[in-house]
């Protein structure tokens, strides 16, 4: 009688421990997945910031760069395309164009020493540098979070729970154009 009771208690104890274990893994998976989603949202925030910055930059530079209409048009067009993009693939492509246009613009700026001496422009340039870095770092963080998450849902024992609760693998953020790959380390100094 007493033996059966002890066996029952041990069994119940084991069940409780197992349940706590499963809950722990499940919560960790949810936390990681939320971090992936949050990191993805961060990229959008930074891309939006770049869009907001461009009109100011173009306004300031226009006064000094009379003969660069094409450059400005390319930037403005790329910006409106990027803002109007619907799907993820479209956004990625349009943002790539915008980044290319901006880096071309920054090369052209080198020919205008007066503009480079303008305080207002210098601070805008710093903001742009920083925004490009923030975009790069938010992508980097997204990929880091995806790596943690994917590792977790593929490794034993969390893969069992991930399979049962349909946690699916996420994709890394891959940069397509070669020019875009160079952007992460922008330095104007």
């Amino acid at each position: 009688m007493a033996g059966a009771l002890i066996a029952l208690l041990v069994f119940a104890g084991l069940i409780v421990v197992l349940a706590l274990f499963v809950i722990g893994i499940y919560n960790a998976l949810v936390r990681l997945r939320n971090q992936v989603d949050n990191a993805w949202a961060q990229i959008d925030v930074q891309l939006k910031r770049r869009h907001d910055l461009i009109p100011n930059l173009v306004e300031t530079a226009k006064g000094y760069m009379k003969h660069e209409r094409e450059t400005f048009e390319a930037i403005t067009q790329a910006r409106s395309q990027a803002m109007g993009a619907k799907s993820v693939a479209e956004t990625a492509k349009a943002e790539g164009h915008l980044a290319d246009a901006l880096s071309k613009f920054m090369l052209v700026v080198e020919n205008y020493p007066e503009l480079k001496a303008n305080q207002n422009f210098l601070s805008l340039q710093e903001e742009l540098t920083s925004t490009e870095n923030k975009i790069a770092f938010s992508r980097q963080n997204y990929n880091d979070q995806v790596l943690f998450y994917n590792n977790k849902i593929q490794m034993f024992p969390s893969n069992i729970i991930a399979g049962m609760c349909s946690f699916t693998k996420r994709d890394f953020f891959e940069v397509e154009s070669a020019a875009e790959r160079q952007v992460p380390k922008v330095s104007f100094s």
Partner: protein, 414 residues
């Protein structure tokens, strides 16, 4: 990553327990010495109260105390956009839940530290000297190192341990000074009791003196031992966040070779917080590794530079074994030779010129922090207008032109 953070938390708890033990030991022995054989409990009780108060104070506002002690001033984006942007970049790279508060310390010595209770309530402080010397990539490396401290939960530990250490030092100092000043007048008091008790009392007093002298040293060694390891780990974290170890490496090199005097407001308790040891390295290599709060800079730079494969913690660990391994085979001598090579880079004259320009910049950064307005006259003269200036226009002393304060101010405050 998470394993690292967990291990760091465990180390913090261990260290706090050991510190508490040392504090109680000091309290107990001092109690025995001052109040006689039954005084041990009084001392223990007092030490417990001190410990609780310190723990509560340091947990609730330790970061504020440390920031105030280093005379750091909170700044906004407008004061130094680049610094603020870089902190935000690193916050994004690390995926921190909140933007750390940014502080600038008015000091020409280049240094930086991070403090706070959690990643949500963290602060990063850099000296004006650091801002004036480093370029963008280097500053990014330093900030990444500080953000790594926040990410690894080193900040709570260093804040708690720093204030705890301060408590132990305080208790010992109060006792030792009390003993010193009262030793002349109060000798008769002990002889008035019975003979045996008096002797035991003297033994206790001697013991208390020994403990009061040794305890702060012990606590410090403990503190330093753990902080050195964390410096390496924060370097590894910085390399991972920026993916560019060279930024931090070259920043450390610049800081090490800097001729500025040592950081004013730093002391023994706050030293391990900083990115490099704020005390000047007069014969630093000669000191034993036990008493230094930081690993030698040359070694940190070499590890960062030998990270060739990638920027993960593993790559850092490989570079670390590579570098420290060679140190084991060829001790001290090889390292010494290399350190000389690093310091002598850059000719003396350019160094002097640079220093002058940097001092100028440091002044400007601090004026900006303190709300000065900057104004440029068309004749090329630059004005720095203090925040308490009353009038709305100034006359240029060179070309006698009157300058309106209100309008151009908006243009120059970036």
């Amino acid at each position: 990553m998470w394993e690292l953070i967990r291990a760091n938390k465990q180390h913090s708890i261990l260290l706090m327990a050991l510190m508490a033990f040392v504090l109680l030991l000091v309290g107990g022995v001092i109690g025995l010495a001052v109040f006689g054989p039954d005084g041990g409990f009084i001392g223990l009780g007092a030490a417990t109260v001190v410990w609780l108060v310190l723990a509560l104070v340091s947990f609730s506002s330790g970061d504020q105390i440390l920031l105030a002690a280093s005379r750091a001033q909170r700044v906004t984006h407008d004061v130094h956009p680049q610094l603020f942007n870089i902190v935000e970049e690193m916050k994004i790279a690390a995926g921190l839940p909140a933007m750390p508060k940014v502080y600038i310390i008015n000091d020409p010595a280049p240094n930086a530290f991070a403090t706070g209770r959690s990643p949500e309530t963290a602060s990063v402080a850099v000296t004006a000297g650091l801002l004036a010397r480093l370029n963008r990539d280097e500053l990014q490396g330093v900030i990444a190192h500080e953000i790594s401290h926040i990410l690894h939960r080193d900040i709570l530990y260093v804040t708690l341990a720093g204030i705890m250490l301060g408590g132990i030092v305080l208790l010992s100092q109060v006792f030792l000074r009390g003993m010193f000043y009262s030793s002349m007048g109060s000798r008769r008091r002990y002889s008035s009791g019975n003979q045996g008790g008096g002797q035991a009392q003297i033994v206790m007093v001697l013991l208390a003196i020994v403990v009061a002298v040794l305890a702060p040293i012990m606590a410090q060694l403990l503190y330093f031992a753990l902080s050195r390891r964390r410096e390496y780990l924060a370097d590894a974290g910085a390399a991972r966040l920026t993916r560019y170890p060279e930024g931090l490496a070259s920043a450390l090199e610049k800081i090490a070779g800097d001729p500025a005097p040592q950081l004013g407001p730093a002391n023994q308790a706050t030293a391990p917080m900083y990115i490099v040891n704020p005390f000047k390295k007069k014969g630093q290599r000669k000191l034993s590794d036990l008493t230094s709060t930081h690993p030698p800079i040359s070694e940190r730079v070499r590890i960062l530079r030998s990270m060739s494969g990638g920027a993960s913690y593993k790559d850092y660990a490989e570079a670390f074994t590579e570098v420290t391994h060679s140190k084991n085979i060829v001790p001290a001598a090889a390292l010494k030779g290399e350190e000389v090579g690093l310091r002598s880079s850059g000719s003396q004259q350019t160094q002097e010129e640079r220093t002058h320009k940097q001092l100028h910049q440091i002044g400007d950064i601090m004026r900006k922090v303190n709300g000065f307005a900057f104004l440029a006259c068309s004749c090329g003269l630059h004005f720095k207008i203090p925040p308490n200036f009353k009038g709305d226009s100034v006359q240029c002393p060179r070309c006698n032109k009157r300058l309106d304060l209100a309008a151009p101010q908006a243009a120059t405050t970036r």
